[in-house]
Structures are given as C-alpha cells and as structure tokens.
Amino acid sequence: MKFAVIALRNLARNRRRTLLSLLIVAAGTIGTLLTAGFIRFSFEGLREAIIHGGIGQLEVVPRSDVAGGESSAERPGIPGMQDWQELRNGIEAMPHVLAAGAIVQFTGMLSKGERSAAVIAVANEPGRERRMRFEVKLRGGTGLPDAPPSDGEDAILLGTVLARSLGAEAGDLLTLLGITTDGTLNALDLRVAGLITTGLQDLDSRIVKMHLASAQRLLGTQNITSLVIGLDDTARTPEVQAELDRRLRGREPSLAIVDWKTRAPFYGQVESLYLGIFWFLGSVIFVLVCLSTSNTLMMSVMERVREIGTLLAIGTSRAQVAAIILLEALWLGLLGALAGDLLGIALVAAINGLGIQMPPPPGATGGIELRLATAPGDFAATVALMLVILGIAAAVPVGMSVRLRIADALRHV
C-alpha cells in the first residue's frame, strides 16, 4: 500500500509529463469506447432489422425441412407442419413470447397479362405480425388487412423490383399459379394491395406476401411451413429456445427450433466484418498507447537511476522496486481510463444527441440514425484494458530498473 502512495507521488513530480500520459490513455479509452459503441450500434440495428423484417427470434419447423440448416427463404416444397394450432397456443402462453405467427412459404408463378415471374410467396397473419412488432416497409399502396379475406377478395403485396419488372401497381389484378399438396396446378386471382421492400435488393425481385388464408386456399391445405415466434427481448432468445426445446422433445413428427442467427447467415458475415474493424482499430490504439506510455515511464526511470540505487542500497528488494514502477504505470492506466470514461460518456451523449444520419449497412437499402450503443460493461472493460496496456508498457522500464547494478546506479548523476 505504501508503494502505491510512493508511486502516486512520483507521478506528481513531473506533472506536465504525467498529464500528457493521462491524456494519451484517456484518448485511447475514448477511442475504444466510441468504436465499441459504434460496432454495437451496427450489430443491434442490423439484428433488430433482420428479426423484425419477418423472421422473428425463433422459428419452429419440421425437422425434415431443415436437414441442411439452410434459411427458410431457400426452402422449397409443400407446407409440412400439421396440427399446429394447439402447439401455437402453448407457445403464445410462454413468458417473453409476443406471438407465434403461422407462415406458409411456397414458390409459384405470378403473371400480369403477358408477363410472368417466378416468385417466393410468404403467407402470414398480419395481425400477429404486428404483435410481434414486425415491420412491413410499404413503398406504395396499403398493407394486408388483418382479417382473412373472403373468397374472391385475396390481396397481395409485391417486392418493389418485382412490381417494376411485371409492370404492376396497387389495384392491379394478378394471377398466381401454385402446386397444391396433391400435386395439381391451381390458380388464384389476387389484387395488388401495395409494394414492399425487404431491405435486400435480391429478395425484392422475387418476394410476394399474402394472407395465410389465401395461401391455404391456393394450395388446398391447412398445413403450414413454420411458426415464427416474436419475443419481447432478443436477449431472451437462448432461454426461450431452451424451454421450447424441452417442450418439443419426443414429439412426432419431430420439430426443429431455429434461431434468427442461423436463419440469417448474412448477419454473421457483417458481424465478422465489423469485428475485424474493431480489432484493427483496437490494436492501433493498443500499440500507440503502449509505446508512448512505455517511453514516458522509461524516461522517469532514467531520471531516477541514483534514487533507485539508493532504494536498493537500503534494502529494498528488486521485486519491490519493480512494484513501484509497475504501480506508477497502473496508476496512469487507472486514472487515464477513468478520465477517458467520463469524457466518453459525455461524448457519446453528445453524438447521440446530434442525430447523425448514417449510410445503409452493407446489403441494406435504407439509412439509419447513428446512436452509439455503449454498455455499462464497456467502462469497466476499458479500465481493465488500459491496466493491461500499461502493465505491458511497464515491462521494459521495470526490466531496466531491476537489472541496475547498485554501485553503478549510485554513481549515476
């Protein structure tokens, strides 16, 4: 404890130099905080956009349909999930579950007059989608009504790119061809209610959406492809998934529970891209702070060679001398990081207050407002990080001080 006091007083000897070191550590801390806040903002924004774009946090699907673990957008075929009503009621009674929406997904051929296009059709329950806080990004027209449409009143939403290539707009009557569960071809007339975007160019050229009842009418089945589950908090995903897994165990035919991350491999790619940026910036900060503080610590050891010789001559062990130098470094790390955290809090608040518009993340079509997402743990983490950096920075000065020969050190002027 006494050594900590000596170390602190040693820092007060050259206030200008100490202040400079503290500034460097604080700047490194702020840099780390802002980078982490930006990365987390990007992750969270993308995550919520993906989830609320329609895939939900979890999906229950027949195990036979996810053999390859591929995302449901690629899944072909016939809706295979039977007797799902009771299961759905059970799921909707679970804590943190907002709703469980039935989905029928199929491929079909959509035509307007002479023009046709192969489409991916997603049929859902608009009321439940809203309860799950899913977003329908309308680009013209209106959304789907909540109530199941009566025969002859079927409505459809078209991806913007698809609508353009078909030359279709809201109010037009289109024909959708699909294959029924018994293998015959069936056709359904649907009126275009509106145009939508998924945020992904590729999907916008193929996607159509309709009410669950319309799809069931076209395909002649009460089966669904899957149940999509919306939660009140994405962080609860693992715990709800575990509970569901427990409940569905042993059920025949077997059902799989797939989380949003598995269904959106795109998220993983963006995540690793951003993490790469974070580690790169982090290492730059690490090296800069480490080198400059190491240099200052070295200078302060060089100036005190005779004093260190005296400490050794009167019985201070080399480990104790090392402790004094190391503690000086750790004080710099601690005080600098705390100052940086305080400034960082203010800066984050200021930046978030500005409402800066950000360009869209890779693959997405719309811009977003910058809101740095700092977590309370970041502040402790930056303090720990700076302590580690300063500990490493102290290595050379500590090594030098413990290797001093006492007689030489005492003659040093």
């Binding site: 000596i6 040693n10 009167i314 019985g315 006492i406 007689a407 005492l410």
Partner: protein, 252 residues
C-alpha cells in the same frame, strides 16, 4: 557532552568475530581500452564498536572499498567477511536482508527519497522490513530525536537545509539499529561548521549506541577527530594509524 560509556550490546572484541575482515581485495574498472585498478589488494580488519576513518585523495578507491564492504558490489578477487560470514557467498535474498538489517549507509549527497517526508524517509527501512506500526513510530521518532530533528519531521527533503538532510540520512541509516554504518564523504557537501556538527553526531552515536562507523573522507577536520585512520592511496592501504584505539576524540 557525553562521556564514553558502555555500549548497549556487551562486546568482547577478543572473542566476537570482527565486523569486517577484508583480505586481498582487488577491483578493476574497464573504461573502453583502459583498465583502472581501483583497489590493488586491500586487507582490513574492523572490530565491533570501532570508529574508523578511511582517508585519501579523490580517486584513491574509498567509494569502491565501501561498496565492497557494504555488499553493493563484488570484488574481482579477495573476500569480505562480515561477522565471520562471506559476503561473496550471499544469495540475492540474503544480500537484501543484509542491507536491510545489518548495515546503514550515509552518502555524500544525502540520497533521500524526495517524495517522502523526513519522517517517512527514516521510517522507510522499517516498513520494507515489515515492522508493526507502533514499533515503527517509536523507532522513527527516537531516531529523529537522536539526530536533533524531532521538530522538522514532516518536511520534504527539498524544504530542509543540507545539514538537516544529512541528519535525516543518518537517522535513516540508524533507525534499524545496524551493526555498522558506512558513511561515504558525509561532510563533503556541507560547510565546515555543519560538517563538524555531523561528525559530532556520528561520534556521539558511536559512543552512545556502540554502532561501528567507517567514514570515507579527505576532510582533514574529520580525519583528525578519528581514533583510527586508514590511509588509502592508489588502491592500497599505505598506513593504518591508531589501530586498536577505541573512541573518537574531541566529542563535545
């Protein structure tokens, strides 16, 4: 002021091993192409309670000799026995304890720790030796009182005069009650009056506590005060005057 009286530790110079028994000490320094022979075979015996001056011009090897006696450096050849045990055979842990407990240093330029107050400087050797708070306080205050500095103990070194600093340094050297104090030119940075006061203090400590003193100096005023004067020239002992004399003279 004080008459020589019995030291606190009973001593029997005939049977107790000497404080220092140095034989054949040689030390060379290499400076580029040159080799400086700082000590060329020094033999020396110092018994417990002695007050010895090592005198000689600058560069004759006094500091080198003190470094070897105080285990701050090792000889190229020869040996130093401290109370019968060979300093050259110490492990580094033993050396640290030796420096911490058996010997005290007083330097020409005081070498106080600038960030510590006078009190803290004196207390420091007790702290690193792990003594309890009450014991530290008692010994520190006693040491400061014995050098006449009880009133200024919360000043930092830069607020003290040269004489006061050397008193603090002496108190720091004494506080752990070492067997011997090695004082290397303790008066060289002081004016003559202050220097004389410091020598008084050293002599009185020797008589009152029985602490053995070796003082390196080329100051005639100091040399003439000492009962035993070892003259060093070019790394050799050229005279050992008054060997066996027990007490410093002229203690007022």
């Amino acid at each position: 002021m004080s008459e020589p009286h019995a030291p606190r530790r009973p001593l029997d110079p005939e049977s107790a091993p000497p404080i220092f028994e140095a034989s054949g000490l040689r030390k060379r320094y290499r400076l580029g192409a040159f080799t400086i022979e700082a000590l060329r075979g020094v033999d020396l015996v110092v018994t417990r309670g002695e007050f010895v001056v090592v005198a000689g011009p600058s560069g004759c090897g006094k500091t080198t000799l003190f470094n070897l006696l105080g285990a701050l450096d090792g000889p190229d050849s020869g040996s130093v026995l401290f109370e019968g045990s060979d300093l050259g055979r110490q492990t580094s842990g033993e050396r640290t304890l030796f420096l911490r407990r058996k010997v005290g240093f007083v330097f020409q330029s005081f070498n106080l720790i600038p960030v510590l107050t006078a009190y803290e400087n004196v207390e420091y050797p007790l702290r690193i030796d792990g003594l309890g708070r009450a014991e530290r306080r008692r010994r520190t205050e006693e040491a400061l009182a014995s050098v006449g500095l009880a009133g200024r103990m919360h000043q930092r070194p830069d607020q003290l005069s040269g004489g006061e600093r050397q008193r603090v340094a002496l108190a720091r050297g004494l506080v752990h009650d070492p067997r011997v104090i090695l004082a290397d030119e303790p008066t060289a940075n002081l004016d003559s009056t202050t220097g004389a006061e410091i020598v008084d203090l050293l002599a009185r400590t020797n008589t009152e506590r029985g602490t053995t003193f070796l003082i390196a100096t080329h100051d005639p005023a100091v040399i003439e005060r000492s009962p035993r004067r070892i003259r060093l020239l070019d790394g050799r002992v050229i005279a050992d005057e008054g060997a066996g004399a027990r007490r410093p003279g002229g203690v007022r």
